[in-house]
């Protein structure tokens, strides 16, 4: 054995210890496997077929209606996929024993959680928001006869991504709170689909829940992303701020809870 003198040792300290290596590994799980192109294919196809059917299949095509339908499809269905992908991030690793193996190495627990958050956020952004967004932009611009204003389109994509990030952080947090996949998926998806009823019961909740980021309640101006896409002023910016704060709270709870976890 010749020792370790030939190596440059890792210098990360504290909560960042192991973060670089974990990020590399998590990004590789997205970009060096089939994951990225499968997600691109699914969401590209969903948005492409949906818009294609509206643009080319209906003689009385309404561009504004297509924009609303796009916002709903792009906002709601990928959120389900985010939950399904993320439920495996913590619970799956704990059940398979890989989390214990990784944490037997010089890696901090915050680095483990943050690497999951960062790599999956980028993966979701690229494959579920940007790639299908580019397809939608091209098709909607074609249908409109002129390019859509990027100053409207890009903020709308940002709001759609914030919606996905909410479910990503929620599922990550639930993964640190529960040991089984059932409660993590059940609570995340239950929350996703129950919001409409909750807001119906207590309308003020629309300001703190992510539902109206992408999906209208009663009329089309009730949702922020569709409003941005059509050039209307959003009914309120409070949901954006509230959801951003909720994401931070979920991540904070996940970090605290995971620090106490035993393997």
């Amino acid at each position: 054995m010749s020792g370790n003198s030939a190596f440059v040792m890792v210098t990360e300290r504290g909560w960042r210890r192991g973060l670089g290596n974990l990020l590399r590994s998590e990004f590789a799980a997205w970009w060096k496997t089939r994951q990225w192109w499968i997600q691109c294919l699914i969401w590209g196809a969903v948005i492409g077929f949906m818009l294609g059917a509206m643009i080319f299949g209906s003689p009385d095509f309404d561009p504004e209606e297509a924009i609303f339908v796009y916002a709903i499809f792009a906002g709601m269905f990928p959120a389900v996929a985010v939950v399904i992908i993320m439920q495996d991030a913590i619970v799956g690793e704990r059940q398979q024993g890989t989390a214990a193996w990784v944490l037997s190495k010089p890696a901090s627990r915050p680095a483990f959680i943050l690497s999951k958050l960062a790599a999956n956020s980028v993966g979701v952004l690229a494959t579920m928001v940007v790639f299908p967004g580019v397809i939608a932009y091209a098709m909607l611009s074609y249908a409109d006869g002129a390019p859509l204003a990027l100053t409207r389109f890009l903020p709308a994509l940002g709001v759609i991504f914030l919606n996905h990030l909410f479910y990503l952080a929620l599922t990550l947090m639930l993964g640190t709170l529960f040991r089984g996949r059932g409660p993590v998926i059940g609570l995340s998806l239950g929350f996703l689909f129950m919001q409409q009823y909750l807001v119906g019961l207590l309308p003020i909740l629309k300001f703190v829940l992510p539902w109206t980021l992408v999906i209208p309640l009663n009329n089309q101006n009730d949702a922020i992303a569709p409003a941005l896409l059509t050039g209307q002023p959003p009914y309120s910016l409070i949901p954006i701020a509230a959801v951003a704060v909720e994401i931070l709270v979920f991540v904070w709870i996940a970090l605290i809870r995971f620090e106490r976890e035993e393997f």
Binding site: N4, F7, V8, V10, A29, T98, W101, L103, S104, P106
Partner: protein
């Protein structure tokens, strides 16, 4: 290594309780540098619990412990930077190949250079004879291959302390032999702390042994001392002639605690229990040879580890805490 070297592992009253069940109770042990420390016990004795406590994967309910003088709670990451660990059932990312797994493990310790990391990975693959399967996904590996990969990843950083939880449990006899050889070879460079229930392995390679039972330490000591029967010892003596006179002489020695006798192939066969083995080795044979008997055999009785294990697990005479 000097006598003054601080212990690699030291635990003081280490205790772990899971929902009211004591998995580990008041464990006090010291692991010296460059030793092969065998951690022995039946299933559920607390071996894996101890290892997980040392690695910071679980927290103690009471007591303290240090590794390299660093506290297992406050400096867990710094401890793990100097440790290699093989879990009882190694689990890796199934989509990775063996080479990628070793590269991933190495990069928790080394930033670069790339060439040196690649060489270390190759060295580890060779060590465990996985070169030909290096680029296959782990999902296609057998249990033995996973175990060998586990041994490789545990050593990828040339750790100061190698912790192996049942390293030979799922290996065939050749694999077991290879693992024991690797452990013996590493003694010069590192301290090996390993748990097992395979008594033969412990007897072959360990120099210090701890036996746990139901979460409690029931025996601890150098392997030679345990195999010799604890702090005292038993000597086997075969003799003929006036054995009654010789027996009276031996019985009178202050460090002889007991003599049991029987006949073996026309000779008397004694088992002389002593409290001071050094005095027995200096004086017992001389006394007998100069007396009215002919001594045909004289040797210290060595126990099999299995005898000791069964005795201490059932509360026998070797219990020392």
């Amino acid at each position: 290594m000097t006598e003054a070297s601080p212990p690699v592992v030291e635990t003081r009253g280490l205790t772990k309780t899971y929902k009211g069940v004591q998995a580990l109770q008041d464990l006090n042990l010291v692991v010296q540098r460059n030793s092969i420390f065998g951690f022995l016990g039946p299933n559920g004795a607390g071996k894996t619990t101890t290892i997980k406590l040392l690695l910071g994967l679980i927290r103690p309910t009471a007591g303290t412990a240090s590794v390299f003088g660093l506290d297992i709670i406050g400096a867990s990451v710094d401890i793990r930077a100097r440790v290699g660990y093989l879990p009882q059932e190694p689990h890796f990312y199934e989509h990775m190949t063996a080479r990628q797994t070793l590269d991933f493990a190495a990069r928790f310790f080394f930033q670069g250079p790339r060439k040196a990391i690649d060489e270390r990975v190759e060295e580890m693959l060779t060590l465990v004879d996985l070169e030909k399967k290096a680029d296959r996904p782990i999902r296609s590996f057998s249990g033995g291959e996973r175990q060998r990969l586990g041994i490789a990843q545990a050593q990828v950083n040339y750790p100061d302390l190698l912790i192996l939880d049942e390293p030979a449990a799922s290996l065939d006899p050749i694999g077991r032999r290879d693992v024991l050889e690797v452990m013996s070879r590493l003694r010069k460079h590192t301290t090996v702390f390993y748990s097992t229930h395979i008594l033969d392995d412990v007897q072959r390679v360990s120099d210090t042994v701890v036996i746990l039972n139901r979460g409690r330490l029931v025996a601890q000591g150098p392997i030679e001392e345990l195999l010799a029967g604890g702090e005292g010892g038993v000597y086997l003596v075969h003799l003929r002639g006036d054995t009654e006179a010789a027996r009276r002489q031996v019985q009178a020695l202050p460090w002889v605690t007991r003599i049991t006798s029987g006949e073996h192939a026309g000779e008397m066969a004694w088992q002389v229990s002593v409290s001071d083995p050094r005095a027995a080795e200096d004086q017992l044979l001389k006394l007998l040879v100069n007396g009215p008997v002919v001594v045909t055999e004289f040797r210290r009785k060595l126990y099999e580890l299995e005898d000791i294990f069964l005795q201490v697990v059932e509360g026998g005479p070797h219990v020392r805490q």
